[in-house]
Symmetry: C2
Subunit: 417 residues, 2 copies
Amino acid sequence: MSKGKLLYAQSGGVTAVINTTAAAVISTARQHGIKVYAARNGVIGALREDLIDTAKESASAIRGLAHTPGGAFGSCRFKLKSLDTDRAHYQRLIEVLRAHDIRYLLYNGGNDSADTSLKISQVSRELGYELACIGVPKTVDNDLAVTDCCPGFGSVAKYTATSVLEASLDVASMAESSTKVFVMEVMGRHAGWIAASAGLAQRGEDDPPHIILFPEIAFDQAKFLAKVKATVAKVGWCTVVVSEGLHHADGRFVAEAGSKDAFGHSQLGGVGPAIAALVKDELKMKVHWAVPDYLQRSARHLASQTDHDHAWAVGEQAVHYALAGKHGVMPVIRRTSDAPYRWKIEAAPLTKVANAEKKMPKNYLRRDGYGITQACRRYLEPLIRGEAAPPYGKDGLPSYVKLKNLPVPKKLPAYSL
Amino acid sequence: MSKGKLLYAQSGGVTAVINTTAAAVISTARQHGIKVYAARNGVIGALREDLIDTAKESASAIRGLAHTPGGAFGSCRFKLKSLDTDRAHYQRLIEVLRAHDIRYLLYNGGNDSADTSLKISQVSRELGYELACIGVPKTVDNDLAVTDCCPGFGSVAKYTATSVLEASLDVASMAESSTKVFVMEVMGRHAGWIAASAGLAQRGEDDPPHIILFPEIAFDQAKFLAKVKATVAKVGWCTVVVSEGLHHADGRFVAEAGSKDAFGHSQLGGVGPAIAALVKDELKMKVHWAVPDYLQRSARHLASQTDHDHAWAVGEQAVHYALAGKHGVMPVIRRTSDAPYRWKIEAAPLTKVANAEKKMPKNYLRRDGYGITQACRRYLEPLIRGEAAPPYGKDGLPSYVKLKNLPVPKKLPAYSL
């Protein structure tokens, strides 16, 4: 195989540490004399031949990239469909790679990306184009198969547990004469990993969060209200964490509001405010609610050191795999010990990762359905350990970098998506 | 004056650093051999004779208190009305103080608290009870008169600017194929200080936040939508920060929804989701919104060092004033220089602080009404400087303390509020 270039692409929702992986990829490739292009806005840029020349970025910019949240080259929500449906796209992709002598494709994303990486790998073989296609794991949802956890999750977990702890101290101090119930909505439409991470803040039975509403368990309104009431009676106040994916027994999302707001416009989701309104109306208690939304997955200022280390390691290893001629694999995290926490990176075949989803084990959910078990805590805790804070400027804000993102001259005719 | 005890009470909404002030009060009083009681849940506890003996807390607990958010002794929303209306309450208060030989009252709160402190001071003189009544400033709203800024504000400002910066990096990376507009709601019902602090994240014209909606300026829907549209056309995406106090020209809050949600319950406020729905329906753009609510004022993990230093200094000085026989005063922050930032603590008469409100100067708002001016930046920036991070435990969470809060034996008959 010729020693060609490496193309790095980000895909799907970004995380607080996806750029840490990007920085690791670029640094490692530089050490091996491999030129790295990045696809602008993920696979969309790859198809449009909109490539970024990372060689134009200074070493200090790449160091800064490692502690900057968001996706520095742009990511996208664009799913390549089956080979039959989207064959033209796959062929165009290989054409672009060939035009720029790109021999290594590192695709940094979640479930869909593993699947896309696999298909690109197949098409390249069919077309006789030598390409090492490596999937690189990333997702705050922590739902990738095979890997013990996903880079990006540990930091949102640390943010979530810390935020619940802090806001609950606020609620506790005001409960005598003000807010009695605090509701915080967290991400995770299909799996309750982020919701579960809030449980790390709970030390004793009466400590917050008192109730976690998981997407794995159908919402039981009467049982929930009874639990809130009992908690306020016993503790004086109550913190509730609810997953955006909470649903009714018939499968409808609780967040599917369909109501109108002050402007007469359709109300946007928000299971947090819906649960808060329920408590207020049914229990006549003063309620506050929070929806951190993107704040939770971009909070690089509160990144976990473990998560940072994972994110760096998968980027570094992905380059090593590519250079070693591996293809159709993904560097995954294998835990070898809980206490002390030990882990290593292994190559997993993309066929095993793609189209599978890691669910929360049943024994991670407490029997009453409102909290996490000791087994879950043992799994989650190492993932939020350590503080990988960014440097701060004299202006009091984190010093995040902005790359130049200079384009690589195009060689092919335009292609419309 | 006999060398009696000191009573410390927290009042109103708590902040990330009100306990820093509490720790300063207790440490300083201990150095002078003065015993400190704390009122449980603020003035409610003082009236109920529900007092906490802080002498039972270890030195290390008090050190930990300095970096723990929330109000460690409990705060309250309970406003003592005029002397005529609530004379019985004021008299009871003096009775409680007298029963425990409390000769120094430090009341840590916002506008209402300054007013209450003043009245207590008057009643004590009328009743011939020697009492040094000192107000201690605190409020995330930054609306206290006389003082240059309020302890608690700098940290929420740092949290707000950092969060807007981080979430915007997320939005920027996804905008090509996903969310185009991000709306973040911040606190501040009457003054736009917190909203203004978001402006610190903006470096250049095209940097976020692109639009800040202040409570000082009536909401102009058509102009706002045009600005969002123009921003997305130019930048590719748009970050909007909106104050919970945003109102229409006729004075109605934009957050006054009055609509029904999925449960058929009245929807709780939320100007953030309302603005998001407006953009989605009128401009047909994908929108996300965040409402950090209590997270913003309890985020001790992101406290500003300046804010921490102010909070400590007002607590320390309040004790010095009390011991020096001052009464009816509040230690306030006076800025003596912007660059380098220099400040000192001065005693201001409570008569000047009570019942006044510090508004945003007109020249702090940009002419188009959607951002802050250089003058505003010069004022705000020093307040978010420096990182006063708490220590973290091996579990990856901030090490916040829980005090014992042991009660002082009661000496008086019960009193119902």
